[in-house]
Symmetry: C2
Subunit: 359 residues, 2 copies
């Protein structure tokens, strides 16, 4: 069924039916002029928004509408996680063509709801609009943190150890694998990757690594528990999530904190999946880990690195790795290579500049 047969209020009705009120502080969800909720006394509210555009952030064929919905919410959850907050309430705006299939929009909302359920988030409202072509999804997400128990990008101190959760480069490697599989700059389904000759001839464990990297590209796993834990302990002085890539996001953190940074090549937790894909495609795994975006791991600075490591193991949280330290601003941001030479660290992703280079 196409949307034009259902109508706007038909669509809103379908969405409303699916949205459960799962948070007792929600006083009014979908269907009012605005959503209403009662904040906990002594809390700080955190608000973030991320926009995903067809043809820029995703192609409708990959990874399919359900995973697309999950990703749209997950990238916002990651922003709340980066401040040590608990995600609570989402507003979802959609602009869709009237020729869009209702089943696809249902799948999109199913994904949004699945991810919301995973993080205890209530989808409490939004807006639907016609689009003259591309699909646009905007999620605004509100979260909470205890008064004084949240982290900014700007609090890093000279001498702080720089730490990162999880592994780096898998998401960018997954994207490279897809790009390589299609052999050209057109859309392709993830399943087609498996039919691609080079990957098909790989041994099973290596093929699995490629598939895991692709999965990671399509479905970020935001580090909410880890972010909140660090904020509540007060152990992270500054924190950011890795959306643009380590080099670029570290630069944001340094600029906000008025400091420089030094990170060590041999300490970087490069994803084993990224290494396999890089070997297979003749790419540089280090470059994927440094400049590839969308890992959605947490990068933070602390003066208690050893205690963080121990506590993360004790609490069953994500792996965490010390990768460098904060230095004076005048020293800039540099990478210490394995041969102990220093190279300035640049790079990252810029929407508008990239478009110009491609155009």
């Amino acid at each position: 069924m196409e949307l034009c047969h259902l109508g706007e209020f038909g669509l809103i009705g379908r969405i409303r039916l699916k949205a459960a009120r799962r948070w007792s502080q929600i006083l009014l969800g979908i269907g009012g002029d605005a959503a209403a909720f009662r904040p906990t006394a002594g809390t700080v509210l955190l608000a973030t928004t991320d926009l995903l555009v067809e043809g820029i952030h995703f192609f409708r064929e990959i990874p399919g509408f359900r995973l697309l919905g999950r990703k749209c919410l997950a990238v916002n959850v990651s922003d709340i996680a980066a401040m040590g907050g608990t995600p609570r309430l989402a507003l979802v705006s959609l602009a869709v063509s009237s020729r869009e299939r209702v089943e696809d929009i249902d799948a999109l909302y199913q994904g949004l709801e699945e991810e919301a359920e995973r993080h205890g988030v209530t989808i409490a409202g939004g807006d639907t609009s016609l689009s003259p072509g591309p699909l646009f999804v905007n999620v605004a997400l509100l979260g909470e943190a205890g008064e004084g128990k949240w982290v900014q990008r700007s609090g890093a101190k000279l001498g702080d150890v720089i730490m990162v959760t999880g592994h780096l480069g898998a998401s960018a490697a997954g994207l490279e694998a897809i790009r390589s599989a299609r052999g050209q700059e057109e859309e392709i389904g993830a399943k087609q990757v498996r039919q691609w000759r080079r990957f098909k001839e790989m041994e099973t464990s290596r093929l699995e690594a490629v598939e895991r990297a692709i999965d990671r590209h399509f479905l970020p796993l935001p580090r909410v528990v880890e972010g909140r834990w660090l904020a509540v302990q007060g152990w992270a002085h500054a924190m950011i999530d890795l959306s643009d890539g380590l080099a670029s996001d570290l630069a944001h953190l340094c600029r906000e904190s008025g400091l420089g940074a030094r990170i060590y090549e041999d300490k970087l937790p490069i994803s084993p999946w990224a290494r396999v894909v890089a070997e297979e495609l003749g790419k540089d795994a280090l470059a994927l880990a440094l400049a590839g975006g969308e890992d959605y791991e947490l990068l933070f600075t602390t003066s208690r690195a050893g205690e963080v490591e121990q506590a993360f193991i004790r609490e069953g949280l994500a792996e965490v790795t010390a990768i460098g330290e904060m230095v004076a601003e005048a020293e800039g941001i540099s990478l210490v290579r394995k041969d102990r030479t220093l190279v300035p660290l640049k790079g990252g992703f810029d929407h508008f500049r990239v478009a110009k280079e491609q155009g």
Copy 2:
């Protein structure tokens, strides 16, 4: 200068410079992973979002980027007003082509900031993205209301008087004037209306009415003070803002409240500007007032209509008019014509259905 010369972070930097922190509860504005603010104890938070799409809600040539920015914020402010809240914190997401002129985006933000200033709102963050073509603006707006001092659509009681602020139909009349001036379904500048022969030959006072209607179409004046006043007094049982048109928005209020409604043609405060435009174009002013959208006046129900009227005059608030009453759900929603006949009231605006009819 085109955006591709400035880059994403250049754009964010420009936006950030312009955004003042004007609300003492804002702990962190533009530049973090999320915005952070401290809600007042005993408050309810209200959250709304509206998406405006080029080619659907606006054409870039009219009314120009500054007014477009004002409208994008104003329509959200109106949603907070409809619940009796005070707008506080906005997140603005933009998807723009890399060939967009930086000066136009600056003008858009100037308009957003002007409207924010007018309502005491802080633009505390957002997202910027590339668009493959059309311009998309999504605003998410947070507001506050005192605990128990906010209004839903669902609280209308049998026998309540239905009241409306201001006058109806001006915005739809303005749109008709523009459409008529251009003589076809293409974009045209508002200034060109003045050059149009029929309007040029009008006497000055009538031409001014046309221009005021056009202005009203491009710049809604959300009724924040009136909405808050009604909520604080507890005098509005149910309230909604008129975005889709009286017929459609009244139907929302009735459905939420489980009641019907009866409104009287001879009581409707049809805008004098709408009357002039309707006469000039051979349109029905009543239809513009009933089914034309975007008046952004408040429609509410109350058991104290007389006291509301007196108090609105005393407090220097907007004009307010009693237009009908709430009846049993089984009676449906009807219009009492001047000759006392009853006609069922239908209509309003549906994004996806309209698109189908046009396509």
